[in-house]
Amino acid sequence: MTNADAGRAIRRLTLAERVERVGAALSALSDPGGEAHRRLLDELPAATGFSTESVRAGLGLALAEFNWTGLRRLVEGELGAEAERAAARAPASTAVIPAGAIPMPTFESLAAPLVLGSPVRIRPGSRDPVSARVFADAVASQDASLGAAISIVDFDHADESAARAFLDADAVIAFGGDATIAHLRRMSRPSCRFVAYGHRLSVAVVSGQADAEVAAAIARDVSHWDQLGCLSPLALYVTEDADGWSDLLAAGLERLASDWPRGTIPMEAALATRHARDEAALRQAADPATRVLSGRDWTVVREADATWRSAPLHRFIRVHPLAGLDALDGALAPVASFLSSVAAPLALHSRLSGFGFRRCLPGDLQAPPMHWNHDGIGTLRPLLPST
């Protein structure tokens, strides 16, 4: 079937029908008794390096709202009452270049064009050859025409002509670092709708004395996907009791090290962690306000101040004391343009409205609803021409 045929076939369905069927496919991904979910649990750990327990926990949390309701809210939220008319302006073809090994961006970037009625092709990343295929099969089992509108394409990374042919689409959804995004943009049609989701980071903010429940929730946010996602907190800012928060966070990370074991870690990342730990230990040697708490697979550095420091990831979090919430602006200034989400108790949300694209409760960082304002550009909206 040609791309045009596939497009015609899925546009014969109404928007509501596409939402219903793609939503059903998303639901299948999180159905513990279903084939799609079983395949994800079976195949993702070996392919991605995450532990099976981490994959189960991560999918369980993140896919809770990946379903028909979530998709419907996304459509209503981004396209409003004129959704059907808006979808009529969907791109004739969409190409997706995912990055990394966390599956949710792959699901979302395939679901979005399909819902709009745009056939989509994807070149799975080498670190996750699983998610796109499982999702395509789940969609096909709901609706053959929608399944036929997903193409999974493999070509050599260095094959520039194949890459150009792949990117010759009306819309391109690209994930990755600045250099990757810039490269893909150069290779795409100048006229295409180029939707770029660059690298981001997230943080957590708390006030008051250390609270075991909140600290445990932040430890879960850190441990999900081994802190490699852009929704993973790299730092915790506290207005009081930095030592208490650090101790509780350490206890939470230690528990999770056995419940959700950390996955494989590349030598480069292990080296970066070792450096960051030892650098902190030397700062501690010069000023005991800094403390290093660590287990085999996690690190908490109680910093002496709010100065932003590099983040080795892989379950490494810094706890920064703040003189007050007003000091957060200055503390986050070096990374303000990269900030995605902020986890904080509800009472602080109104004070944090200027930070990132999303505020949520500790423990919810890795589970944004489908209709969240993804990187400030949304999910469906950027695929459509502006009116």
Partner: protein
Amino acid sequence: MNRSQIEARLRDWMTSKTDEVGDDAFSEIALALFKWQFDHCAPYARFCAGRSRTPEQVRRWQDIPAVPTGAFKETDLRGFDVADTVKTFRTSGTSVGPRGELHLDTLALYEASLLPSFETAVLAGFDAHQRVPLFILAPSGSDAPDSSLSHMFDVLRRERGTAESACFIERGELAFERLEAAVASTSDAPVICGTAFAFVHWMDARSAAGIHTPLPAGTRLMETGGFKGRARERTQDVLYREIEQAFRVSEDRIINQYGMTELGSQFYDSILATPSRPRHKRVPAWVRVRMIDPLTDEEVPHGAVGMIQILDLANTGSVASVLTADLGRAVASGFEVIGRDPEAEARGCSIALDEMLGDER
């Protein structure tokens, strides 16, 4: 053994160009130096004590705690009074954050250590006191007073350079015409030393000027430094191919130097010193290099990849044992530096700050 006695022994090794120092002799000096540094550098002492590695507890040089290179940015690792500082070398500039600093209260040992390594690796085959044209693609020490590389080149010019030896980076720019004139007029084959990026600039300038003449027969090139954070990044293989094409200098006359501000010693390719063996980094007799597993802190099996940990006894005034940010592999008579996998962090969409802000180590 006090520091003067330690330095005297080291100077003996350096000036006699000893190729190898036995483990017993090395261990004696290394442990004595560790004790001196423990006693005179309080942050390092507390760092070691926190690891239960005090001089009383450490019996082997392999157990001397290493500090990461990044620590030189924020922790004053100086074993002498600040007032006695005669020189501070700083790491290359970054867009944010502090720069690493190596403080010295004497330049004597620093300069004594750099000469034999350079002479053996780059001036192999020259008579001991023969002077050579040294053309430097880096600023002079007076233009870049906190650059250890510029200082090193100044010393080399002073000790081994002919009168025509000079620096060809002025106010951050390549003095292209002056360099071409120097190359054209030199009567002896020059040794041209500089940063890898300076060689790229030179090739670009030659290409733009339509100059394709080869460098004089016998020219040797020494390049150092990488391309991290630079717009025109390339691998060493690619760079050497480009150099061969642009200058007609064969790859076996191009020597890479691996060095860093935080160390007193440098490591050069073996290709001229021992051309019969595969290219590797030579290790001076007063240095030990080990490859460490960052997860276990154990030495990896010979030939396996690990993080490069260097015990450089020439670092007497600060900390001798340094953990680099590079990966490497031990080979028969030295080591290789392994490039980092740029995709190493590609499992996620989060990002380390170094990458975001274009930090250059």
